[in-house]
């Protein structure tokens, strides 16, 4: 343990603790700008400076480990002046269009400017005039708003291992952009949106589709249907001051109805359908040898892009089953439309997703139009929905609960844990066990594949055979798993894993790129806990036990992997040559 | 080549020190070359072969007196060792003809620094 003093008050912290962290012990929150708890300190901004008592030299609190006997001063008039000057310098290189910025009121730079009472411009304004990049349909990059904190690059390169964004050039003219003059849409980008959710300012910001959705809602000729993804229910409350992990499912149904949606569905229902298909697919491959192992989950569209672009030799392992978002949209425009006698061409499906890449999934292949129409018309992030709610002035926290519309709205505990890392695997194993053994698992919860460890492994016995599974989240953790498979393949050995779940974002959808800002591991864990609680509270906790799913198969699809199911619920993947 | 051991050092020293008694060294570092030392070297080479005098023409690094490049150090038995500065083409020829052959020091080209090392 390290003993030191901060502002003359003693602190005792474990070795390696930064001054920034240690200062919390004495109730000091040193101002920061580039620092993000998810990332190693980049030490880029120079706001968090502190000094050692009695010396001239200043240190950055974010990246300096506190040492035994150190006497730290976190503020004196000179420190505050330097912080303010650095802030004013940063502001001199940042546009003033806060009012129409996507991050207005959620901007970390704006907050600092407010705290420091910046009232006038001390320095000449220099704005680069670098054009926007809106080459993906998920987010827009506005390089002029970049403050060079490096978070987006850190997350894109080190955490996600994607290397779409890079720091180019140097000095005052350095900028973040993809390599070789590419637009981000042509780069290795997987549109996971982690860059946007880690950006402290409005330099990377999801494309806002709320205006289009408002227009659809006021069009008397359309029948607007909404589906909410599992994890949205435990995160949206944060936008209204509720603690992370609070389950707001009932309020969401209510508010969506009050926004004007004609039917409110739950993507968790479609997740149950996905599990029926995917677990059956697994059984086919594992028991009957129809298809290669490992089976790899494919419900995360960023993960799909990543595998197609970066690891094309592995594409055949993918589950061909579509993601819940697409299944929900498809069933709305086929099954539901048929049953309700609604002209599917009039139906507009809007999904509320924790994710930016779901926007790109809408048109991923021609199979996303299997209903004869675009199966899902708009995909909004949790953040966009929160803004829509605020536009209506609805008192979200105090709304009454309500039920979803049936047929495509009722879900099981297995469906809802899709929203966190390990959830898909857990749900699939629950059903696969039943499919293989004809029995129901005694203990439904697989602790080994829960939690935030980057790669989680589990070996379970089903009908006398060991099933080895791996769960990875955060794309940067994937390659180690895939390499083990590759090595075994090269040696002609059986795959070390039979089933692999991958979610692109750290924490899975709980930490999705479209979720409320300010995510930390603590918040990811709380959102996951909210989902696990929902699971425990459910009457049905296995996807194939969902009565509405059973009804769907009985009335419409036949059985999992039936011809019709294949036609409607499955897709294919492309081996793209890496750039 | 066999690896050196401590015993070889003295032999090498003796061999080098017992080497040529008459030599000309041209400073051939970036600064010297920039000031024309390459040309100077070629002229010296050419003139020496014309005159047929057995003088070793050597190269060395920079003496540090960049303002006076190209620098040429001349050692001819019986004459003081001198450093000529700003050795132009003509001066180089004159070094061979006048100094080496004629055994006369050139007027107005000698650089005489008052530290011994440069001349030792």
């Amino acid at each position: 343990m390290i003993q030191a003093t901060i502002n003359q008050k003693p602190v005792t912290v474990p070795e390696g603790t930064s001054i920034l962290q240690a200062a919390r012990q004495v109730q000091v929150k040193i101002p920061t700008l580039c620092h993000h708890p998810d990332l190693p300190p980049t030490a880029a901004c120079g706001i968090c400076i502190v000094r050692i008592e009695g010396t001239k030299k200043m240190l950055r609190a974010c990246c300096t480990p506190i040492e035994n006997g150190m006497k730290i001063i976190t503020h004196d008039p000179e420190i505050v002046e330097v912080r303010r000057t650095v802030l004013e310098l940063i502001l001199s290189n940042h546009p003033n269009d806060c009012l129409k910025c996507g991050r207005n009121q959620s901007c970390e730079l704006q907050n600092l400017a407010a705290d420091f009472g910046i009232r006038e411009e001390l320095f000449t304004k220099f704005i680069g005039g670098i054009p926007k990049d809106d080459s993906t349909n998920a987010f827009v990059i506005e390089p002029d708003k970049c403050i060079h904190c490096g978070r987006c690059i850190e997350i894109c390169q080190e955490i996600q291992g994607v290397w779409a964004l890079s720091f180019l050039g140097r000095g005052f003219n350095s900028r973040f952009a993809p390599a070789a003059g590419q637009k981000v849409g042509d780069s290795p980008c997987v549109v996971c949106g982690q860059c946007a959710s880690h950006c402290p300012t409005g330099a990377i910001f999801e494309k806002d589709d709320t205006l289009k959705v408002w227009q659809e809602l006021q069009n008397p000729d359309t029948f607007c249907v909404v589906q909410i993804a599992p994890v949205v229910r435990v995160a949206i409350g944060e936008a209204f001051g509720m603690p992370p992990g609070t389950n707001a499912t009932g309020k969401l149904y209510t508010v969506l109805r009050r926004l004007g949606f004609n039917a409110v569905f739950d993507t968790s229902f479609a997740a149950d359908v996905t599990i029926n298909e995917e677990a059956t697919e697994f059984v086919e491959r594992f028991v009957n040898g129809k298809g290669p192992l490992p089976l790899i989950t494919s419900c995360c569209p960023s993960w799909v892009i990543y595998l197609e672009k970066q690891v094309p030799d592995m594409v055949d392992y993918f589950s061909s089953c579509k993601s819940p978002q697409q299944i929900s949209g498809l069933l709305t425009k086929t099954y539901y439309a048929e049953k309700m006698g609604i002209d599917p061409s009039k139906i507009v499906v809007v999904s509320i997703m924790p994710c930016t890449s779901k926007k790109t999934e809408l048109t991923r292949t021609e199979e996303m139009f299997a209903s004869g129409y675009q199966d899902v018309d708009y995909s909004l992030t949790t953040r966009e929905l929160a803004r829509m709610i605020k536009q209506t002035g609805k008192d979200f926290v105090n709304l009454p609960d309500s039920e979803p519309d049936h047929m495509l709205g009722d879900y099981t505990g297995a469906g809802v844990i899709f929203g966190t890392t390990g959830g898909v695997m857990e749900a699939a194993l629950r059903s696969a066990y039943s499919f293989i053994t004809g029995e129901k698992l005694g203990a439904l919860e697989f602790e080994d594949i829960r939690g935030l460890k980057g790669v989680k492994e589990l070996s379970v016995e089903i009908a006398g055979r060991r099933v080895n599974v791996a769960v990875a989240h955060g794309l940067g953790n994937v390659m180690s798993v895939l390499n083990r498979v590759r090595e075994a393949r090269a040696k002609g050995e059986p795959s070390p894993y039979d089933f692999i779940e991958v979610m692109a974002c750290p924490g899975g959808c709980a930490g999705g790129g479209g979720q409320p800002y300010g995510v930390t591991d603590d918040i990811r864990a709380k959102r996951a806990q909210g989902l696990y609680q929902d699971d425990r509270d459910k009457q049905f906790r296995l996807s194939h036990e969902n009565p509405y799913v059973q009804k769907l198969y009985a009335e419409f699809l036949g059985e999992p992997l039936s011809h019709k199911a294949h036609e409607l619920l499955h897709t294919h993947y492309v081996k793209r040559m890496p750039g | 080549m066999a690896a050196l051991t401590g015993n070889d050092f003295d032999a090498i020293k003796a061999k080098v020190q017992g080497g040529a008694k008459n030599w000309i060294k041209v400073g051939m570092s970036t600064c010297g070359i920039a000031a024309g030392a390459g040309k100077t070297y070629r002229v010296l080479e050419d003139e020496l072969s014309k005159q047929g005098h057995p003088v070793s023409l050597l190269t060395c690094g920079c003496l540090g007196m960049c303002y006076a490049e190209p620098l040429v150090e001349v050692c001819i038995e019986g004459l003081p060792r001198v450093v000529y500065c700003r050795v132009s083409e003509e001066c180089a020829r004159e070094i061979v003809r006048g100094h080496v052959m004629g055994r006369k020091l050139l007027q107005d080209y000698i650089l005489a620094m008052h530290y011994e090392e440069a001349f030792s």
Binding site: S166, A179, S187 | C31, A34, A35, E69
Partner: protein, 156 residues
């Protein structure tokens, strides 16, 4: 053309492949071979070394020595070291720009001359200096520039 350059790039990479700290050395060799780092070569290096293209461009654009475009036949480097600056290299640069009608960091329309400013060629004793394809001209005066340039333009 591309196939030839890729072949050459592959042999450069092969030479360095198993050495540590090879990326910048490979880029140097590529630039020595082609005069700049062509994009298709950068992509090939990325694949051969199994490092992201983004990493290569991060490096390429950070280090001023590397060029992304083919420079002119004659690379004129004007020294902007302190000694040269004090002794008038800004005027030498201005004169070059006037004579050649080209900005620094750019190549003349005939593809002959490329002007750049460099940090200290290491010949401060001869300040101000400039180098044309490595040949150094020292103790320059504004009037010397025309002569030097015309020597090269005659050769074409």
């Amino acid at each position: 053309m591309e196939a030839v350059s890729l072949e050459r790039a592959e042999s450069i990479v092969a030479k360095w492949k198993n050495k540590k700290g090879n990326l910048i050395m490979i880029l140097h060799d590529v630039q020595d071979a082609f005069g700049y780092i062509p994009e298709h070569v950068a992509r090939r290096i990325s694949r051969l070394l199994d490092i992201p293209l983004a990493r290569i461009y991060e490096v390429l654009t950070f280090y001023h020595y590397f060029k992304l475009n083919q420079p002119g036949k004659y690379k004129i480097a004007v020294c902007m070291g302190t000694a040269c600056y004090l002794k008038g290299s800004p005027e030498i640069l201005e004169e070059l720009k006037t004579i050649l009608h080209v900005e620094e960091g750019a190549t003349t329309s005939d593809g002959l001359f490329y002007i750049e400013c460099v940090r200290c060629l290491g010949c401060c004793g001869l300040a101000p200096v400039m180098a044309v394809n490595g040949t150094i001209y020292g103790n320059l005066k504004k009037g010397d520039v025309v002569d030097i340039i015309s020597r090269y333009s005659k050769e074409g």
